[in-house]
Symmetry: C3
Subunit: 268 residues, 3 copies
């Protein structure tokens, strides 16, 4: 007997209201054996790109067969479509607003369907809480084994949003930005080892990083290698350049945040 | 083999301390197969009515047989009684202070018992943490199949608290109030379609809504239908009039909050 | 068939990012039957003693066989060791930085191992997220039944940190301090009934408590026994003197917090 299916939740609902608990009730009412795992409910309200980042950096760690419900949904109740995406081992249920874009970028075997099978919804369907009335019941039916093909027809014109990409100018300067500030005040940038390989060499050549107008002079391998009060760069767990401090918040020290400019260049 | 029983938790304990984790440990120690679902732990400290609202708007979505632990308990350690309520499909464990009032209002087949079977408690019983020492172990024994009758005698003088109700004056003005502000800044009012049917007609006649002294001119069907910066009314997922904005916080825009007055009247 | 193993999580990761969800994915990918329980993720960033307190006050309530993952880890990626501790019924996975000190103080049958079995890690191992790449997979292998002896050799020079202890001067004054402020604003002190037995007698003799320079005149048995606005003492659920208020925050009323001095003396 295989273990019961896992359903993950990634939303901007917060934990202050009964919303998330209600979604779980709906799922368990339909699929009593489902096991539900919160990825996060602290996406900034209406922040589609924030939701896209959170699911893209976590879903690959879940077992094959996991169903991911991703609801950042400012268009709830409007014409935006509910979609069901399958990518070989993973399945996703979300509004069609780009919140799955960064998943779609990574996946080759991708099928996206417009969910139209309203008989699977929780009735009556509110105009303001489709996580409860549409996405949760659809995820629960998937967990019960309903085939994705039964939820609606495949579509190819699904919405996509893009992370800002760093650009390299003629002088070799990489201009990127902070795309997220984590709980510790680490500044996660959009600059990867592919964008700026010189930063990530075992023996880093001379370089310059400027974040929010301030010079960052060292790349280090671990937070604990930093001196007190020092802000430095590191290869973070999301695979990007992070600007961090040892036991402190780089965001606070630099006064930087999401959208802050990050410039990196070899200076050798 | 039926799936293991579900126990939900609704408290004002927050998530910063080890309290909620400890409660779960106590439950799993007694009923290893129980599955525990958080509804919310962010009820305002000591806010009995807030707890009553959260459980009342979520419990019906859970499967038959679910056990709901609801602990907002400023009287812990005093003479207030612990109670066990059964309503056909659902069971509730809570202090007798009114936190189940809105459940009791909805339920016809209701039995409420004063829990006196101290041999089911976690010993020693602290005077400050009955969720751990009384409510969790009682819920766990229910999950194991102990009959509600074994926990104590039925009582009929249980505590009740009431939501403020809207009133209608001779001129047809409905005077209600904001009973909750959700995570998105939506203002949930106590005005239902029964109180003010003219607001919820497919073809709304002319009306006036005044919230915190400010005019709200439109009812809409979905958040996304609002114009930028506009505050408008909607039928919310809790079945009440909500005052909302599109991708914004109506609470912030209007400077309104819980207790703010809401007046609605037909103006045709 | 025994129920599936329980893995608890205590961290300073917060719930805003995808970190905790990712850890759960890693665990479930290796040990699909594991059941994961959050103790708290709201330890102050890098607060080893805060983490030590949270796990020490909760782990004993969990069933025998539970695996506790405790990650407050400012030294991640440095030479600090990952350790696996077993204490008869409980198992712990943590960095070797003292975060398990208060568990170790309580336990007689204690074995601590340096985890060196890198083939159990999630590859590649980042330098910044060992909860995902080291501690979660080790916990999951334990849940699968891998013997603790397979993870590494026993060590005896593990790190320890200490709670501040109250001191008694020649005049019988007990000088302690606030070691934590809970969600309700209760001030948890490090003074136990053993330190100041006169505070906890059924018939308390005259005494003086001074907290943050302000006089506290009564010990009471329950929060609800306090008068409005009164700050008083109580034996809290953690087995220590707590300075509290009835439906209010003693921390706010007194302007006190972690580290605030607490002096108690018999005045009879």
């Amino acid at each position: 007997l295989p273990p019961s299916p896992i359903i993950t939740l990634t939303t901007d609902f917060g934990l202050d209201d009964h919303f998330v608990g209600t979604i779980k009730g709906v799922i368990l009412n339909i699929a009593p054996e489902a096991r539900i795992v919160d990825i996060t409910h602290a996406i900034e309200p209406f922040d589609i790109l924030g939701g896209a980042l959170s699911i893209a950096h976590s879903y690959t760690y879940f077992p094959s067969g996991t169903i991911h419900v991703v609801v950042v949904d400012p268009g709830v109740g409007s014409q935006r479509r509910p979609i069901l995406a399958t990518t070989g081992p993973h399945r996703f249920v979300a509004p069609d607003n780009g919140v799955l874009s960064l998943v779609f970028e990574r996946e080759v075997r991708l099928s996206v369907r417009h969910i139209t099978a309203e008989h699977y919804y929780q009735q009556p369907v509110s105009q303001t809480f489709h996580a409860r009335d549409v996405f949760a019941p659809v995820a629960a039916r998937l967990a019960l084994g309903v085939d994705p093909g039964h939820f609606g027809e495949e579509v190819h014109d699904f919405a996509l949003v893009s992370l800002p990409r760093p650009v390299e100018n003629a002088a070799g300067v990489i201009a990127g930005e902070v795309i997220r500030v984590d709980h510790f005040g680490n500044l996660i940038t959009n600059i990867t080892p592919q964008d700026a390989p010189f930063l990530f060499l075992a023996d880093t050549p001379p370089f310059q990083i400027v974040v929010a107008g301030q010079q960052v002079s060292h790349m280090r391998n671990a937070y604990a290698e930093g001196e007190q009060g020092e802000v430095f760069g590191i290869l973070g767990s999301m695979g990007c350049l992070e600007i961090v401090a040892n036991r402190d918040s780089a965001a606070r020290i630099l006064g930087a945040g999401r959208g802050s400019q990050v410039r990196a260049e070899p200076s050798g």
